[in-house]
Amino acid sequence: MLKRTFAALALGSALFAGQALAADYVIDKEGQHAFVNFKISHLGYSWLYGTFKDFDGSFSFDAAQPEASKVQVSLQTASVDTNHAERDKHLRSDDFLNVAKHPTATFESTSVKSTGEGSADIHGNLTLNGVTKPVVIAAKFIGEGDDPWGGYRAGFEGSTTLRLKDFDISMDLGPASQTVDLIISVEGVRQ
């Protein structure tokens, strides 16, 4: 009896410990410490940067068990912003993001593979313009710790390269601009 209780307790605490370590974080949208940016070559001569202003997401993370981490982000494609009204309107049209038909893009991780100290490949499914494809985000752990206001935070930056054609983006911007780099920089507040 006592033995069984002890075993159950030990098992329970082991499970509990595993879960307690992988804490849940919500991306800090409120304080705007999170960015979903992209860059694409303009004619091969310069980088054009843009951002998605409206997104949300959460992740679970444990520095001791990085491969148990999970992340999910969803963003409103209509919030694309490259600081140019006509270009942004064009980006929202069916030449690019087709936001009327596909207002939301999502990323959901499926597995995380550690690639070294503080870095990992986040495998997951990206849904963009109605197309779901597996992508790998090369992520770097930036830091974690107490914040000055009584909370606890952890931050990452990751990037991946997407082929526009893979996501049915029909506009041809020329040979140097077939791919776009997605750069995600987020800080999460522990729940």
Binding site: A85, E86, L173
Partner: protein, 182 residues
């Protein structure tokens, strides 16, 4: 022909404004439809929208001039053979054409200036952005611009057909008056 309108005829200024604006409206409509389908590497990809916006602003100034000119000139009286229904439809149609023109131009202006950038007119001058806070401004204004432009051009075609009907069927002076040959 005189510069100013009389109670009987349109003057040279009114006639020139009418035809210039007619050419600009159909030209801008065609240019607008064509330019949104251009390939990114087309030589016209940047030039065509610049032309469209520049001519659009000049058209707006012509329309203001036209309104002022209208205000300070007599309005030629309706032709004798036009009954009260024709007169009513004429007033209504002309009113809608004016309204449509300003609505198309305003919506176009709201697209380009949605993020605070001015509209550049051939490097001569800029029209500053005054309204930037309408939700989804560029998209909403863009849709309006397209639909209103179609409505305006359809209305202008009806206007032209009406003038031809007066000329060839009623055989009255409606069209001749606008050609300065009354």
């Amino acid at each position: 022909m005189q510069w100013r309108n009389t109670l009987r005829d349109y003057g040279l200024v009114s006639i020139l404004l009418h035809w210039l604006i007619a050419v600009a409206v159909f030209g801008l409509f065609g240019l607008g439809l064509w330019m949104v389908g251009l390939d990114y590497y087309s030589a016209w990809y940047r030039k065509a929208p610049d032309l469209h916006k520049g001519i659009g602003v000049l058209l707006f100034m012509l329309m203001l001039l036209r309104l002022v000119w209208k205000l300070f000139n007599p309005r030629p009286a309706p032709l004798q053979n036009h009954g009260s229904a024709v007169r009513l439809f004429t007033r209504l149609g002309h009113g809608l054409l004016y309204l449509g023109l300003f609505a198309v131009m305003a919506s176009g202006y709201l697209i380009s200036t949605a993020k605070g950038r001015p509209v550049e007119v051939f490097g001569w001058f800029e029209v500053p952005a005054l309204v930037t806070s309408i939700p989804r401004q560029a998209d909403v204004a863009g849709l309006l611009h397209e639909y209103l432009a179609w409505a305006l051009v359809i209305l202008a075609v009806l206007h032209a057909l009406a003038a031809l009907k007066h000329h060839f069927i009623d055989r009255d002076a409606t069209l001749k008056r606008m050609l300065g040959r009354h």
